[in-house]
C-alpha cells in the first residue's frame, strides 16, 4: 500500500480491490456490540478542513475513532488561511504535533499533493478543488459491488456537473481501473475539454443512456453555475437532466440510483427517486465510514512504507 492517497487514479487494480475487500471485512463491525478496533491506538489522525464539509469530516472522524486513533479536527475555514504560506505553516504545525495521518479537504486542486511534500505522515485527499475525491469513489465502488455483486462490466452513468466535480473525476479513474464501463452525461458546457481522452463514454442525452445503465449517479448542480451561463435556467437543466420517476422507470430492474450528497432535491434528482427503494444514498453514508476505515488501516496500520 502506498504512503498517501492523493488520487483514485494512482491506485492499481490490486490496491483498489484490497481496499474494497478490507472494507467488506470491516462492514460487519457495525452490527457488533463494540464498534471499535484497537488497531490505530496511539496514532494521531488530523482532519484538516479548509472547506466546510461536515459530512465528510464526520465520516473520517468516525472511521478513525472506530480504529482507536486520536482525532484532531483542524478547521481552517474562516481564518485568514488562504495562501499556501499558511498551508506550509500548518503542515509544519502538524509535523510538530506528530500527526501520523492528515485528512485534507481544500478548495485548491493539488493542495494535498503540496502538503504531502511537507509532512512525513500519510496524506489522504478528502476532496481538492475540482480535482479528486478518492475515498468517495471507493465508497461508491464498494456500494455498487455490494448491490450488484461485481464491478467488471458494470454500466455506470454519471450525470451532471462533471466539469467542476472531483467526485466524477475520481469515479471515472477508479471505475476504469476496476473495468466498469462509465458514461458521463451532461450538457456540453459542463464537460471538461478533452473529455474524449478520458477512459469513459460521453453523452448529452440522458434518456438514451438510462435503459443501458446498471448504476446512475447524479451529481449536485449548483445554482451559481446558471449565473455563469453553463445552462440557461435551472428549469431547463432539470427538464433535460433531472432523474425523476419517469426517467427512473427506464432503468433496468436491478439498477441502483446513487448521489454523493448533498442533494438538491428537485433540481438534479426528484424527491421520490431519492427516497425510492433503488436509492443507495443513505447506505453510501454508512459505507463511507467503512471504506475510510479500510483506507486508514491500510495506510496507517502497518509499518511505514
Amino acid at each position: 500500500m502506498k504512503r498517501d492517497l492523493l488520487s483514485a487514479g494512482e491506485l492499481s487494480r490490486d490496491e483498489a480491490v484490497l481496499i474494497l475487500d478490507t472494507a467488506e471485512e470491516l462492514a460487519g463491525l457495525t452490527e457488533r456490540p463494540i464498534k471499535k478496533l484497537p488497531t490505530l491506538r496511539g496514532r494521531t489522525v488530523v482532519n484538516l478542513f479548509f472547506e466546510d464539509s461536515t459530512r465528510t469530516r464526520i465520516s473520517f472522524e468516525a472511521a478513525a475513532k472506530r480504529l482507536s486513533a486520536d482525532v484532531l479536527n483542524f478547521s481552517a475555514k474562516g481564518s485568514s488561511v488562504s495562501k499556501g504560506e499558511s498551508l506550509k505553516d500548518t503542515a509544519l504545525t502538524l509535523e510538530a504535533m506528530g500527526a501520523d495521518g492528515v485528512v485534507i479537504r481544500h478548495s485548491a486542486s493539488g493542495a494535498p499533493h503540496r502538503l504531502a511534500t511537507w509532512v512525513r505522515g500519510s496524506v489522504i485527499n478528502a476532496g481538492d478543488g475540482a480535482h479528486e475525491h478518492p475515498t468517495q469513489a471507493l465508497l461508491d465502488a464498494f456500494t455498487m459491488r455490494r448491490h450488484l455483486g461485481r464491478l467488471e462490466g458494470l454500466r455506470v452513468t454519471i450525470v451532471g456537473d462533471v466539469l467542476h466535480s472531483r467526485v466524477a473525476r475520481s469515479n471515472v479513474l477508479l471505475l476504469s481501473t476496476l473495468a466498469a464501463e462509465t458514461t458521463l452525461v451532461a450538457p456540453p458546457t459542463l464537460l471538461p475539454v478533452a473529455v474524449e481522452t478520458w477512459p469513459c463514454a460521453v453523452s448529452y442525452d440522458l434518456d438514451s443512456v438510462l435503459p443501458k445503465t446498471d448504476v446512475v449517479m447524479m451529481l449536485r448542480v449548483q445554482a451559481e453555475r446558471m449565473n455563469a451561463s453553463y445552462f440557461p435556467t435551472v428549469r431547463e437543466y432539470s427538464r433535460r437532466y433531472r432523474l425523476d420517476a419517469a426517467r427512473m422507470a427506464q432503468l433496468p430492474d436491478d439498477a441502483i440510483v446513487m448521489h454523493p450528497g448533498p442533494m438538491n432535491r428537485g433540481v438534479e434528482i426528484a424527491a421520490e427517486v431519492a427516497d425510492s427503494a433503488r436509492s443507495t444514498i443513505v447506505e453510501q453514508v454508512a459505507n463511507g465510514v467503512t471504506v475510510r476505515m479500510a483506507v486508514l488501516y491500510l495506510l496507517l496500520g502497518g509499518a511505514k512504507a
Partner: protein, 414 residues
C-alpha cells in the same frame, strides 16, 4: 578583436599590443551583447523580490547588455518620474543598460492612456510601452495607444490575454488541466487578442509587438500578419521553448506562469516560428518572486519564472542543438532584432551589433561546449523560481562586455 574606448577598434588575427588587457577566447562564441525585451526588475515596490542591482547582475551573468524593465512596479511606471528613476537606478548599478518600459495605460488599468509622450521625451527615452501582466483588452484603448506612439516611433507590446476567457485560469486548457482539475486557460484567449491587434496595427499603420507568444495558433496568425507586410513583431520566452503543461502534474507552482506552459505541439510550432523568423526575439519574461509566493498550493501561488541567468543555455538546448538556429541566428534573435524592436541600435552607444569596427563594444562570450547544472541558489537574482533547477543545460556565459568594460569575467560579476 581590439576594444578601445568602448568601441570595437580592430577585428582580425595576430592582434598584439602593449598595455592591452588580453583575454583568451579559444573555442568561445562572440555574440553581440544580448538584449532582453521583457524583464521584471520589481523595483520600485517589490525590492523583496528583486532590485535593479540584483536583476541587472543576473542579466549580465546571462550575457545581457541591455534589458527592458517592465512597468508593473509599485508605483506603476506610468509617468516620466518613475521611468527616469528606474533608468537612473540602472545607470548607477552599471551591470547593463536598463531601458524602462512605460505603461500603456494609467495604473495598468486599461482605461486611460498614460503620458506616453512624456515618458518618450524623458531621460529614459522610452520607446516600448506595455501593460504587461495585464492585457489592453479594450479595443478602442488599444487602437488609440497604437496610433499615439507613432509620433515618437514607439511600439505597443501587448500581453495578449482575453480577460473574460481566462477568469481565474490556472494553466493551459486541455487534457492536463481537465485531469488536474485546474481552471483552463484556452489558447484562443491569446490568439483572439493577437488577431485583433494585428488587424488594429494594420488599420492604423503602427508598430505592434506581441509579448511571450505561447501557442501554435498565435504563430500562425503572426506569420499571416507579417506576410501582409504589417509592422508586427513577436517574442517567445525560453521556458515556452522547452517546457510543456505536463509539468503541472506535480502541482509544484514553479511551473505556474503567465501565459501558461502549453503542449508539445505548441513548443514545436514556437521553435519553428523562431527558426523561420516569424518570432523575432527570445525574451525572458524574468519574473522573480519571493519564496513564500511559490511555496504554496498552485492556485494561491504567483505566476512567473526567473529567466535571465541561463536563457542562452535554454536557447542553445532548444534551438542550436536541434539545428533550428545557428549562432548567427541566436545573435539575431537575442540581440539584433530585440534591439531593433526597442530602438536601441546603432552607433557607439547602441546595442544589437553587429560586431564591427566602430560599433559599441557590447559583447557576450559563450562557451558552447560547457555543460552546467542549473542551481538557482547560486543566482545573482533574488528569485529562486527557476523551472530548470536541477537540469543540465549546454553553454555558459564566460564574459560580458558593456561598452568595452567587462561586467562579467570567468562567469562572475566584475
Amino acid at each position: 578583436m581590439r576594444i578601445r574606448d568602448g568601441v570595437v577598434a580592430e577585428v582580425g588575427e595576430g592582434l598584439t599590443g602593449s598595455g592591452a588587457r588580453t583575454f583568451e577566447g579559444d573555442g568561445l562564441v562572440a555574440l553581440p551583447g544580448l538584449v532582453d525585451l521583457h524583464t521584471h526588475l520589481r523595483e520600485p515596490g517589490r525590492e523583496d523580490a528583486e532590485t535593479v542591482e540584483t536583476g541587472t547582475q543576473a542579466a549580465a551573468l546571462g550575457g545581457y547588455t541591455a534589458v527592458h524593465a517592465m512597468a508593473n512596479t509599485d508605483p506603476v511606471a506610468d509617468t516620466a518620474g518613475v521611468v527616469e528613476q528606474v533608468w537612473r537606478l540602472g545607470r548607477e548599478a552599471g551591470h547593463c543598460d536598463v531601458r524602462p518600459v512605460g505603461a500603456a495605460t494609467v495604473a495598468l488599468a486599461g482605461a486611460q492612456l498614460a503620458e506616453l509622450g512624456a515618458m518618450a521625451d524623458s531621460a529614459a527615452r522610452v520607446r516600448v510601452f506595455s501593460d504587461d501582466g495585464k492585457c489592453v483588452a479594450d479595443p478602442v484603448i488599444m487602437r488609440r495607444a497604437l496610433e499615439y506612439v507613432k509620433a515618437f516611433d514607439g511600439v505597443i507590446a501587448q500581453h495578449a490575454q482575453e480577460p473574460r476567457l481566462t477568469d481565474d485560469a490556472q494553466m493551459n486548457e486541455g487534457e492536463v488541466s481537465a485531469r488536474l482539475g485546474l481552471r483552463g486557460w484556452p489558447a484562443v484567449a491569446e490568439e483572439a487578442i493577437i488577431a485583433r491587434d494585428c488587424l488594429l496595427a494594420a488599420h492604423v499603420d503602427s508598430r505592434l509587438h506581441i509579448c511571450h507568444v505561447s501557442t501554435a495558433g498565435s504563430v500562425e496568425i503572426i506569420r499571416w500578419a507579417k506576410s501582409k507586410g504589417w509592422q508586427v513583431t513577436a517574442e517567445v520566452t525560453p521556458h515556452h521553448l522547452l517546457l510543456i503543461d505536463e509539468a503541472a502534474q506535480t502541482y509544484d507552482p514553479v511551473y505556474k506562469v503567465n501565459p501558461p506552459l502549453r503542449t508539445s505541439a505548441d513548443v514545436e510550432a514556437l521553435r519553428q516560428g523562431l527558426s523561420d523568423g516569424t518570432i523575432d526575439a527570445v525574451a525572458t519574461d524574468h519574473a522573480p518572486h519571493p519564496l513564500e509566493d511559490k511555496e504554496a498550493e498552485w492556485q494561491a501561488a504567483a505566476f512567473g519564472m526567473i529567466g535571465l541567468e541561463g536563457a542562452l543555455s535554454v536557447v542553445q538546448e532548444a534551438m542550436v542543438e536541434t539545428g533550428l538556429l545557428d549562432w548567427a541566428g541566436v545573435a539575431d534573435r537575442m540581440s539584433v532584432r530585440p534591439a531593433r524592436v526597442g530602438r536601441l541600435g546603432g552607433g557607439p552607444d547602441g546595442h544589437g551589433g553587429p560586431i564591427e569596427v566602430g560599433a559599441a563594444a557590447n559583447i557576450t562570450l559563450v562557451d558552447p561546449a560547457a555543460r552546467v547544472t542549473v542551481d538557482p541558489s547560486t543566482f545573482a537574482s533574488k528569485g529562486r523560481n527557476s523551472p530548470f533547477a536541477g537540469r543540465t543545460l549546454p553553454g555558459r556565459v564566460i564574459a560580458t562586455f558593456l561598452r568595452g568594460s567587462p561586467t562579467v569575467m570567468d562567469g562572475k560579476i566584475v
